[in-house]
Structures are given as structure tokens and as C-alpha cells.
Amino acid sequence: MSDILIDDTPQPLAVKGRSLWEDARRRLMRNPAAVTSLYVVAILVLIAVFGPVLWIHKYDTIFRDSVSIAPTWTDWHILGTDTEGRDMVARLILGLGISMLVGLAATIVALTIGVLWGAVAGFIGGWVDDAMMRFVDVLYAIPFVFFVIVLMTVVQFDDPVLNLVLIFCAIGAVEWLTMARIVRGQTLSLRQKEFVEAARAAGAKPLQIVLRHVVPNVVGPVVVFATLNIPVIILAESFLSFIGLGVQEPLTSLGSLLSAGKDQMTTAPWMLIAPAATMLITLLALNFLGDGLRDALDPKER
């Protein structure tokens, strides 16, 4: 019998409900500043990833005959060389890459610790929440510099790459505090929102509630924080370079380049201008992108 039952009900017209993400993407694409920034960031990432392979000079090759020369077409030193006689373009590409890497890795460290800490505190609540957040308060009241200096000196490696990883962890270990506060606050307030209650009343399972109602509301602030945090970390790394705890030679970062460049400001201004411009472009793009994401992901804007 069942095989003669032909399904003649018309297929529901493809009125596809737009998902939250689709919505957010559309809003982001309508924001010219954010779209431009997205392209700029993409280009910068490509330069940082493929630049070292494509550019003819290496970041640590020393040209003894051309130390501190101004930008020139000779030998393709189009941004000049530094006081050691190394090609500025190659160093700039490396510095850009390392700064972005530090920003990204430290943000991931901060996100992981912060989201876990904040979500656990917010979900469990009660005295556990109190104790966990009191701990955050105590760490908050200790100066950033102090933290980083201690963390950076407790462990020290001879290997420059391991030291780089150490910088990620040291900065991330400081930055997670804000993240934990944000996530905890969000979790706490979301637990009591009417739409969560409504979903529960409508029979949604806890997992469904978390995925469809809680996560979209937490992801917004988290993504925005992450994007806006990368510039903060890049600046923090430049501060570390300034006090001599940053990336070690012959590796370099935008911060180290700036720090070295400002000493040659009057004699070799190209050593300051190029890194400063790169830093400005990178951070401007990241900031505009973060702002765009914040507007796009804000559930109130729907």
C-alpha cells in the first residue's frame, strides 16, 4: 500500500531562513571600512607568509658595503638597509610576520584560558564563581609589566624560536583576565534571558539552547575582543622590545624595528618610516575589522 502513496504535497518553496552567520556576513559586507580592512589584512597575511620566500634578500644577510644606505634601486634595497647592512624589506616582512604571529598566538592562549575560566565560573556560579573571579581580581591588580618580566625570566631559552613561543604565552597569560570577565558576564546574563527561558519552555534540549542561543550571543563579544586584542598585543610586544625582552636578534618584529628605527630618526629616517607605516596600516585594518565585526555580530542590530 505504501508504494502508491505518492507524495503530491508541493515541496515547500525554498524560502531559506537566513542563519545568524549569513546575517552577520551580509552586515559586514555592507560596511565599506570593514570590507577594505578585510582585504588589507588578507594581503598583509599573504605578504607575511609568502614574502620571505619571494623576496630576493634574506632577513639576516649582511651587506658589508652598503650599511645604512637610503632606499635605492641598486641591489633592490628599495627600503634601504639598517645599521648592520641588512635589507629593510626582508626585515620588514619578517617583522610583520612575527608581530602577527605573536598577536594571533597570544590571543589564542588568552582566549583558551579566558573562555574556559569565565564559562566555568559563570555556569557553576555560587562560591566557585566568587572564588574564581576573586582570583582574577587579584591578578588584575598586579601590573602587566611585572607579570611579563617575571614570566619571561622564570624560563629562558637559548633558542630564539622557543623564546618567541614564551612571549606568546607570557602575553596571553596576562591578557586572559579580561576575556574571563567578559565571558563570565555574558554567561551569567544569558542564563536568565527570556529567550533562553522561552527556548527551554518550547522544549529545546540544553545542547540546542547552548548552540543556538547562548553561543551566538557569546561568540560576538569573543570574536570582537580577539580582533581588537591582536593590535593590543602587537603594541605590548613593541613595549617588550623597548625594554629589551622582546624578540631576539637576528629575528625581529615591528616593535623591534620601530625601537631600532627611532634611534636613527635623524640620520636614517627610512628605518623608522617604513616600520611605522606598516604598523599603522596593520593596526588600523585590524581595528576597523574588529569594529565592523562588532556591529555585524551584535544581535540587537538584527
Partner: protein, 316 residues
């Protein structure tokens, strides 16, 4: 409100001790000590010195000694003694901080005041001209303000305003009638990133405040637009700024290493970083203590101001 303030201050004391303990233990985790440097002190002398400062004791005993002092010599934090410095001979941490703190505090306070004035004004203008050219211009400037670190902005301003155009002195500090001129560049450099943050916060919260029912009511009853904005919308919109400014003020008042180094100013920010690198335990603890105290105090002040400004809490 007063009762709550008193309770918060009482609660702050255990927090402060927890902070001291955390910082103390953290600092002793770092290898080396104030006397294990390149200075080539003979081994016996190094040990005598360590015994003198109690550095040969276990960390928890050193902490107790730091807080409660010793029987023979007294001292200790509870008697208001921050202890002797371990790198500056014959100097107490209290004296070193008393020398540097006024400079850092004046710098921090002026930079914050300047940033609040300029930032609030720019933020309000941007909000009123939302998505117009003035808005974009102000926000682009504000973002640019956080994109270059003070360690670059400072030297650039020194070069142009100080050396090339001879408008302002570039570095140092003079306590005479021209003294103020020496502070203009450092204050401005220090306030730039704060201006950026304040104006962005202000723009966002002003836009939200202008959409609120309270403002619709104010407009509906026919108040002039200027009064609506500056008397009614501004206090509501200031709330996020207040929460931000408390801890931020503590941060700038505890001194800025970059500013104090670039402009050769005698503040505690520079002392602090040098002390941390040389393991001058007592000096580091002294500055950490000041910073934590400021954070707690200014957070409390921010909360109280918040309540005073927030119309919703007025009846309570």
C-alpha cells in the same frame, strides 16, 4: 552608599594582602637575586648580604618578614615600612617612591584629565554626526591614536616640536616657573592612547543614549537640543567612561616606563621596570603595592561615581 563604601574598603584589605602574597611568590619564582649579578661580589659577601636581607630564608618566611618585620629591627609593612632597597644602598623604598611618585602622579592625572576632556568632546561630536564625514574623520584619528606606540610618538614629537621648531623643551624636569613646559610633551604623548579609547567609548555610548526613551521624553517635552545632549544624554553616556577611567587612571598614575625613559623624567614607572630586572624585591613590591592600592581605590571611586551618575539608581 557610605556604608557600602566602608564595607568595600574593609574587604579591600584581605584582597591587598592576597595581591602582596601573589606578587611576592611570583617574583621569587624568577631565578637570580639582587646580589647575583655581574658585579662580581665574592661568594661570602654575597651570602652575608643575602642573610642581611633575609633572602636565605624560605619564601613564606620572607613574606612574613616583609609584612610583619623582624623582632630585632621592627619594620614591616604593617608599620608602614616598605623596607630597604636592595640595589640603591642606604636608601629606603619609601624614600625612592616618595621621590618619583609625585612626578608620575602629576603626569598621570594631567594626561587623564586632558584625555577625558578631549575624548568626551570628540566622542559626542562623532555621535551627533554619526556616519557623516566628521564622524569618520574623528574615528580614524582616534584609531590612529592607538596604532603607534608612545615609544615612537614621543621621539617624533621631540624631534619636531622640540628640536626643529624649538617650541618646547624635549626632556628633563625643572622645578621653576618654566617647569610646566617640560611636562607638556610627555602629558600629551601619554594621553594620546587614552583619548583614542575615551572617544570611541563615548561615541558608542552616546549613540545608544540618544536612542533611549529618556532622551525621547526630553525631546518630546520641548527641551532645547543643547540641553538634551549635554544635560540629559551626557550623564547616561558617561557611564562606560567612568568604569574605564578608574583602572586606567591607576595605570597611568603608577608611572609609564616608556614616557619616563623617552622624556628623561624621574618617575616610579622607570624605577619599577629597572627594579624588576635587577630583582630589587622590596622596590618592586613597593610599586606593586601602590598600583594595587590605586586600582582598588579608583575602582571604588568609579563605582560610586557610576551610582551618582546613573539616574536609575537615584531613587534607591
Amino acid at each position: 552608599m557610605l556604608a557600602q563604601a566602608v564595607r568595600r574598603l574593609a574587604l579591600a584589605i584581605p584582597t591587598l594582602f592576597a595581591i602582596i602574597a601573589a606578587a611576592f611568590v611570583l617574583m621569587h619564582l624568577a631565578p637570580g637575586g639582587p646580589f647575583t649579578s655581574e658585579r662580581q661580589v665574592p661568594h661570602e659577601i654575597e651570602r652575608r648580604l643575602e642573610a642581611e636581607y633575609g633572602l636565605n630564608l624560605p619564601v613564606e618566611q620572607q613574606l612574613l618578614r616583609y609584612i610583619f618585620g623582624t623582632k630585632e629591627r621592627g619594620g614591616g609593612l604593617i608599620r608602614g615600612d616598605l623596607g630597604p632597597s636592595m640595589t640603591y644602598k642606604d636608601k629606603n623604598v619609601g624614600d625612592i617612591i616618595a621621590e618619583g611618585a609625585p612626578t608620575s602622579a602629576i603626569l598621570g592625572l594631567s594626561a587623564m584629565a586632558l584625555a577625558l576632556a578631549i575624548g568626551t568632546f570628540l566622542g559626542v561630536i562623532a555621535a551627533l554626526r554619526q556616519n557623516k564625514s566628521q564622524d569618520y574623520l574623528i574615528m580614524a584619528l582616534a584609531i590612529a591614536g592607538v596604532c603607534l606606540p608612545p615609544l615612537v610618538v614621543g621621539p617624533i614629537m621631540q624631534l619636531f616640536l622640540g628640536v626643529q621648531w624649538q617650541l618646547l623643551p624635549t626632556a628633563g624636569l625643572h622645578r621653576d616657573e618654566y617647569g610646566l613646559r617640560y611636562l607638556i610633551l610627555p602629558i600629551f604623548t601619554l594621553s594620546l592612547p587614552i583619548i583614542a579609547v575615551v572617544s570611541r567609548l563615548m561615541r558608542a555610548s552616546m549613540i545608544e543614549a540618544l536612542r533611549s526613551n529618556a532622551i525621547r521624553t526630553a525631546r518630546a517635552k520641548g527641551l532645547p537640543e543643547r540641553q538634551v545632549i549635554w544635560r540629559h544624554a551626557l550623564p547616561i553616556a558617561m557611564l562606560p567612561i567612568v568604569s574605564y577611567a578608574g583602572p586606567a587612571l591607576a595605570g597611568v598614575m603608577a608611572g609609564s616606563f616608556v614616557i619616563e625613559t623617552v622624556f628623561a623624567l624621574p618617575g616610579i614607572g622607570k624605577q619599577f621596570v629597572l627594579a624588576a630586572q635587577q630583582r630589587d624585591y622590596t622596590l618592586v613590591m613597593g610599586v606593586v603595592l601602590i598600583y594595587s592600592f590605586l586600582i582598588i581605590l579608583l575602582n571604588l571611586a568609579a563605582d560610586l561615581t557610576y551610582r551618582a551618575l546613573d539616574p536609575r539608581s537615584r531613587t534607591a
